[in-house]
C-alpha cells in the first residue's frame, strides 16, 4: 500500500509540474477570466448603454449571486473535463502507460495521482475565478456579507471539485477514448436534466445536494418566491447531504480503482 501512496504523491507532483507550462497556464487563465469578464459585461452593459436604467441594474443585482454561481460552476466543470476524464487515455495515447503500469501499484498511483491533480487544478481555478467575480460585483453593486458568501461558495466548490473529479476519473477508466464526451453527456443528463426532476431519482445527483447545501449556507439568493421551489429540495440536514456526496464520490473513486487495476488496457505497439 505504501507503494501506491508514494506513487500517487509522485504522480500528483509530476502532473502538477507539467501543468505549469505556458499553454496550460493560458488555458487556465482564460477559464479564470471568463466569468469575471461576463460579470463585468452584465454589470457595465446597462450602464454603458444608458446610465439611467435602474430596473436593469436592479435585475443584475438581484441575480448577481446566481450569475456568479452559474458562471464559476461552468468553469469548474470545464476545467474538470479537461483534466479528469483523460487520466488513462492520455497515458495510453502518449505511450506512457507501459512505463507507469509496470511499476508496483503503478496503475493505482497513476489513477489517484491524476485524480488529485484534477481536483486541485479545478479547485484553484474555481476559487480564483470566484474571487475575481465577487470582487467585481462587490465593487460595482456591493454584495451583502461578501466574506461569508465567499467562504460558503469555496466550500461548495471544494465539494463539487472532489466529487465531480471522482466521477469523471471513473468515467476515464471505463470509456477510454470518449471519456470527455461521456463525462459532458453525464453532466447534461444527470446534473441538468435529472437533478431538476421532482422525483426520487434527483437525490442520486450531485447537483441537487450541492444546490441544497448552497441554499443552506448562502440563504435563498434568487428573487423568486422561495416556497414555490422549496419542494424541489429534500429537507435533509446538512450532514446528510455531505454524507451523500461522500458516498457518491467515494463509490466512484472505488469503482474507478477496481476498473483500472483489473482492466487489460491495450497498448498500441504489440510486437
Amino acid at each position: 500500500m505504501i507503494n501506491w501512496i508514494i506513487g500517487s504523491i509522485a504522480t500528483f507532483q509530476f502532473e502538477l509540474s507539467r501543468s505549469l507550462t505556458p499553454q496550460r497556464l493560458s488555458v487556465s487563465a482564460l477559464l479564470i477570466m471568463f466569468p469575471a469578464v461576463m460579470m463585468l459585461l452584465l454589470i457595465r452593459g446597462p450602464q454603458m448603454v444608458n446610465a439611467h436604467l435602474p430596473e436593469a441594474i436592479a435585475t443584475v443585482h438581484a441575480f448577481s449571486t446566481f450569475a456568479i454561481v452559474f458562471l464559476v460552476s461552468m468553469v469548474c466543470i470545464l476545467t474538470l473535463l479537461l483534466w479528469a476524464p483523460a487520466n488513462i487515455y492520455s497515458e495510453l495515447e502518449g505511450k506512457g502507460w507501459g512505463f507507469l503500469a509496470s511499476r508496483p501499484g503503478g496503475r493505482l498511483s497513476t489513477y489517484f495521482g491524476k485524480y488529485f491533480t484534477a481536483f486541485l487544478v479545478s479547485f484553484v481555478v474555481s476559487v480564483v475565478s470566484l474571487s475575481l467575480c465577487m470582487a467585481i460585483v462587490n465593487h460595482y453593486l456591493s454584495i451583502k456579507d461578501p466574506g461569508q458568501k465567499w467562504i460558503s461558495l469555496v466550500g461548495i466548490y471544494f465539494l463539487a471539485c472532489a466529487v465531480y473529479a471522482a466521477i469523471f476519473s471513473m468515467i476515464g477508466t471505463i470509456f477510454i477514448k470518449r471519456a470527455m464526451v461521456v463525462s459532458a453527456a453525464y453532466v447534461l443528463l444527470s446534473d441538468i436534466f435529472l437533478a431538476l426532476l421532482p422525483a426520487v431519482v434527483n437525490k442520486f445527483t450531485v447537483s441537487l445536494h450541492l444546490r441544497t447545501l448552497g441554499i443552506s449556507w448562502l440563504g435563498w439568493f434568487l428573487p423568486d418566491v422561495q416556497h414555490e421551489f422549496e419542494s424541489a429540495f429534500p429537507p435533509w440536514p446538512d450532514p446528510w447531504h455531505l454524507a451523500a456526496l461522500a458516498i457518491i464520490g467515494g463509490t466512484c473513486l472505488l469503482v474507478g480503482a477496481i476498473v483500472v487495476t483489473s482492466r487489460q488496457y491495450a497498448t498500441t505497439d504489440q510486437t
Binding site: 507501459g98 488496457y265 510486437t271
Partner: protein, 316 residues
C-alpha cells in the same frame, strides 16, 4: 524465474499467444520473433499487464496478475518512445523511480546513478524533447535499471539506434548480464541478439517455435532450406560439381552468365563442401550471399518443423 503453462492469450478472435509452455531460470534470454509474433504479449503476460485467457503464468513463483508488488524486482524498457515535452530526463527517471515506492531523495539519487550508468548524466537536465533517439533509448534504460531490478526486460532496445548506439547497447546488456542479473531482450533482428550470446526463445504466430543456445540455433539455420547466390566466372562448372556432390534442389543461372542461385535443403552440406568444389572447379568466386533474410528463412523453417512438414533439431 518465469514459468508459463499452456498460456494462451486471445484478443477477441485474434491469438496473441498460443498455448505456450516454458520455464526460464535466471539468465540471459533473447526473445526473437518477427513483428507481430507475440513478443510484447508474452512480456505483458509475464509482467501481469495481461491475464492469460487459458493456462497460467508465474513470475518468481507467483501469479503476476494483480500481484504488482512483484514488479519491484523487474525493470521494463518498453518498445514505445517517450513523449513528455518539457520534462527533463532526470525528472522523468526520478518520477518513475518514486513509483517503485522509493522516497523522493533516494529516488533522485538512484535516478542520477542510473543516468550515469547509461552515460546520460551530462544531458539529464535537458528536456527529453531535445534528445536524439539514442539518448531517449538510454534514458528509457535508466528508468528500467534505477531501482536495481533482478530482471531487466528490454523490448526492441535497438530500434532506431545507429551502429555506435547499438554497440553501446550491446556492451551495456553484456555488462548487466555479467553482474549475474537476468535479462530478456526482445528483438526481431537476429544478429543484434546474437552479439549478446543469450539463450534463444524463438516465437512466431504466438507460438514458441524453438528454444536453445546460440549453437543450437545455428544448427537449425544450417539445416534449413535456403538459397545461395554465387557470382563467379564459370558457374556451369561449379554447378555440375554441386549437383554431383551436394543435396541440391535447383540451380538457376543468372542472365549475365556470371552467377547462379543454388537452392538446397541442407545449408550445412553445401557450406561444408563448397570451398573444395570451388578449388576443384578452378573458378573465381567474386560474391556469395544468402538470398533469404536469415530470420525470415529461420522462421519459415521452424514453422515447417512445427507443422511436422520437415524434421528438425530444434529443442521444441
Amino acid at each position: 524465474m518465469i514459468e508459463l503453462h499452456n498460456a494462451t492469450k486471445l484478443y477477441q478472435n485474434v491469438i496473441g499467444l498460443n498455448d505456450m509452455s516454458l520455464s526460464l531460470p535466471p539468465g540471459t534470454y533473447g526473445l526473437l520473433g518477427p513483428n507481430g509474433s507475440g513478443k510484447t504479449t508474452l512480456i505483458n503476460l509475464i509482467l501481469g499487464q495481461l491475464k492469460p485467457t487459458l493456462g497460467r503464468v508465474r513470475l518468481f513463483g507467483k501469479d503476476p496478475w494483480r500481484r504488482s508488488h512483484l514488479l519491484r524486482r523487474v525493470g521494463l524498457c518498453p518498445a514505445t518512445d517517450i513523449y513528455y515535452p518539457r520534462v527533463t530526463g532526470r525528472e522523468w527517471v526520478t518520477y518513475l523511480t518514486k513509483m517503485h515506492g522509493i522516497r523522493s531523495r533516494a529516488a533522485g539519487q538512484k535516478a542520477v546513478a542510473a543516468m550515469k550508468q547509461v552515460r546520460m548524466d551530462q544531458f539529464m537536465d535537458q528536456p527529453i524533447q531535445t534528445y536524439s533517439l539514442g539518448m531517449r533509448q538510454r534514458t528509457k534504460i535508466a528508468q528500467a535499471i534505477a531501482h536495481q531490478p533482478d530482471l531487466l526486460i528490454l523490448d526492441e532496445p535497438f530500434n532506431g539506434l545507429d551502429p555506435v548506439g547499438r554497440h553501446e547497447m550491446i556492451d551495456f546488456v553484456k555488462e548487466w548480464a555479467s553482474a549475474g542479473r537476468s535479462v530478456i531482450l526482445a528483438s526481431h533482428v537476429l544478429h543484434e541478439i546474437e552479439a549478446i550470446h543469450p539463450s534463444f526463445l524463438l516465437i512466431s504466430g504466438g507460438r514458441l517455435l524453438a528454444s536453445g543456445s546460440p549453437q543450437e540455433v545455428h544448427r537449425i539455420l544450417a539445416d534449413s532450406p535456403f538459397s545461395l547466390e554465387v557470382r563467379c566466372n564459370h558457374p556451369a562448372k561449379l554447378a555440375q560439381l554441386l549437383v554431383e556432390q551436394c543435396k541440391i534442389e535447383s540451380i538457376e543461372f543468372n542472365d549475365d552468365g556470371q552467377g547462379m542461385i543454388v537452392t538446397t535443403r541442407s545449408a550445412s552440406n553445401v557450406y561444408d563442401k563448397l570451398p573444395s568444389l570451388i578449388v576443384e572447379a578452378g573458378v573465381e568466386v567474386t560474391e556469395m550471399n544468402s538470398t533469404d533474410d536469415s530470420l525470415k528463412a529461420l522462421f519459415a523453417t521452424l514453422m515447417k518443423i512445427h507443422r511436422g512438414e520437415i524434421k528438425g533439431n530444434a529443442s521444441q
